[in-house]
Symmetry: C2
Subunit: 344 residues, 2 copies
């Protein structure tokens, strides 16, 4: 059943039917009702491709998720982010187009997306410091919102980000206030912008307490359970082991916890842990009471915000790119306590 058929059934022209269905004013209310009833009855759905071709709007948003060849990891936050964004798209009648692209082919992929014209906008995932994709997309004139930011890029662009540096500064201060002086940082790969900012926040808090960061207590890598475990295990064997850990992911924190157990240390008493918590659906930090003290910020909500912002940009391009900075909240769980034996 297509427009023409429907129009024929109704004894109307396709024009009128189209306008009736799309809420144009120049169609009598009675007619509109009649058309809508018929559309429902015959279960008419306008063909998307035709609509797209005619309007020039794809009614779809592209998500390009980079896949590193070196570190073959599919970031576990994507699923939740996508779920959040998907909700928004569904409500607005947009489709979500996913493209998995090896790091090296990013540029080609973006250009191709642009010229194929099957999306109206793009969400940029996993920005790095000075990420070239931002300039590229601006150049291509494709509306986009970055999930995160790219340090070093000065021209304004649309983004939704968590205030990572503030969160980690706050978390570090929290540990400092508890008397900890040797605090370890188990971070994500620091080519990623969010990890960079977290380190900066960490260092800023240390500096404010007149402490300088100890490179032996800082590690960056893929945020897995094994990473947390291995890093903690090694650090705990130092002559001056850390009394607290700050980790970038719940998985890493779980790894650190395991290392503590292996050494017979009690979490929250002998050694404290603070972690960032993205509130992933399948990785909760406890039910009501948090297990780990954490800087918490829902990545799913970030997905919603990104999507909303992008759709708004597409509907009516703003003169200035908007941006949104979400503040993580510090929730206190059982993984932290005063530094043992007083300050060093």
């Amino acid at each position: 059943m297509n427009l023409k058929d429907l129009a024929q059934h109704l004894g109307l022209s396709p024009t009128t039917v189209s306008r009736a269905l799309n809420g144009f004013p120049e169609v009598a209310e009675a007619t509109r009702v009649r058309v809508e009833a018929a559309a429902r009855e015959y279960n008419y759905r306008p063909n998307t491709q035709a609509k797209r071709l005619a309007t020039g709007r794809a009614m779809a948003i592209g998500h390009v998720i980079p896949i590193s060849t070196q570190h073959e990891i599919v970031n576990p936050v994507f699923a939740d982010f996508i779920a959040g964004a998907g909700e928004v798209y569904a409500r607005a009648g947009y489709d979500m187009l996913l493209t998995i692209v090896p790091d090296a082919e990013q540029e080609r992929a973006y250009r191709e997306i642009r010229s194929k014209g099957n999306v109206d906008g793009i969400i940029v995932h996993g920005p790095r410091a000075g990420d070239p994709r931002i300039a590229l997309l601006e150049d291509l004139g494709l509306p986009f919102v970055v999930h995160g930011r790219a340090s070093g890029i000065t021209r304004p662009y649309a983004f939704v980000d968590v205030n990572n540096s503030r969160a980690f500064e706050r978390a570090t201060r929290f540990l400092l206030d508890l008397g900890h002086r040797r605090i370890a940082l188990v971070n994500g790969i620091e080519a990623m912008d969010f990890a960079l900012r977290r380190r900066r926040g960490f260092e800023r808090a240390l500096a404010a307490a007149d402490l300088s960061p100890d490179p032996r207590l800082m590690v960056a890598g893929e945020m897995t359970e094994a990473q947390g475990h291995d890093a903690a295990r090694a650090m705990l064997r130092l002559s001056a082991p850390p009394t607290a850990f700050l980790t970038s992911s719940l998985l890493s924190a779980m790894g650190v916890r395991r290392a503590l157990w292996e050494d017979g240390l009690v979490m929250g008493r002998d050694v404290s842990i603070v972690t960032h918590d993205d509130e992933l659906g399948y990785l909760r930090n406890g039910a009501e009471e948090p297990i780990f003290t954490a800087t918490r910020s829902s990545v799913r909500e970030a997905g919603r915000r990104c999507a909303t912002m992008l759709l708004r940009m597409i509907e009516s391009p703003p003169p200035e790119p908007a941006s949104e900075l979400l503040e993580a909240v510090l929730v206190v769980g059982g993984s932290t306590g005063p530094a043992p034996g007083g300050a060093t």
Copy 2:
């Protein structure tokens, strides 16, 4: 730059240019070369919408991922599955369309997808026993491949699945052979088909050893770290606690491991753990040597297989739906050992 422009530049008709670019035989080789060169030079990309409208093929595959309202979990395996499928689509020039749909609106969503006609086929995620979506899709005449199976549906349909029952039967037998008699099952939600089959495999192995399953040693729920922990903690307090655990996910296994530690038990000596391992990118079971003894099967590979199968179905509809049953391999890690104190 569109077809017409390009044709004009070349002094050819759009017809010829189209045929040249699409590899039709009735165009002189010299002309084809000339056209291709020009296309490259002007960076011409055929407009996808137009192509789709003209050919009637969407060149896109839909993934409908159900989102439960009760258990608000975004299944962590989706990300990896999608990554695998995405590779295949990219190579074949297909797009991947993601739709996040609440459980209740599944049917509506499928019908809508069908009538909007913006995909050529669908991957069905998270099938349940007797899943109604299969009949629906058959009814709609939309090519589809199920990732998993739906017990109770007898008419043949295309699927790619892991032999879950065999895997868990094998894992259980492995534990039985080690002398374990009280084996706990920490399963996924048993409305999901894969979880059902795993339980069946588990019970089959027990039955073969003349043991009957103990309901107190069986739990089903969301496969999180907390689930594993809480389940194990409770079971270890039974008058006859299990000497081994079989879990459906690495996360659950990690939770069980935590419960063991809390009780001062040594994994692999006092209590054994076998888990299923989907080989998720961010959740590895050790680097070279596996930490947990596990039934291992890459969900990413399953994604590739599903995608490949679906594309093949679309290119040339087979008379009979194909199917593929992947066998999980049992890898032995440090989490298992002989049952302490001999058999019970």
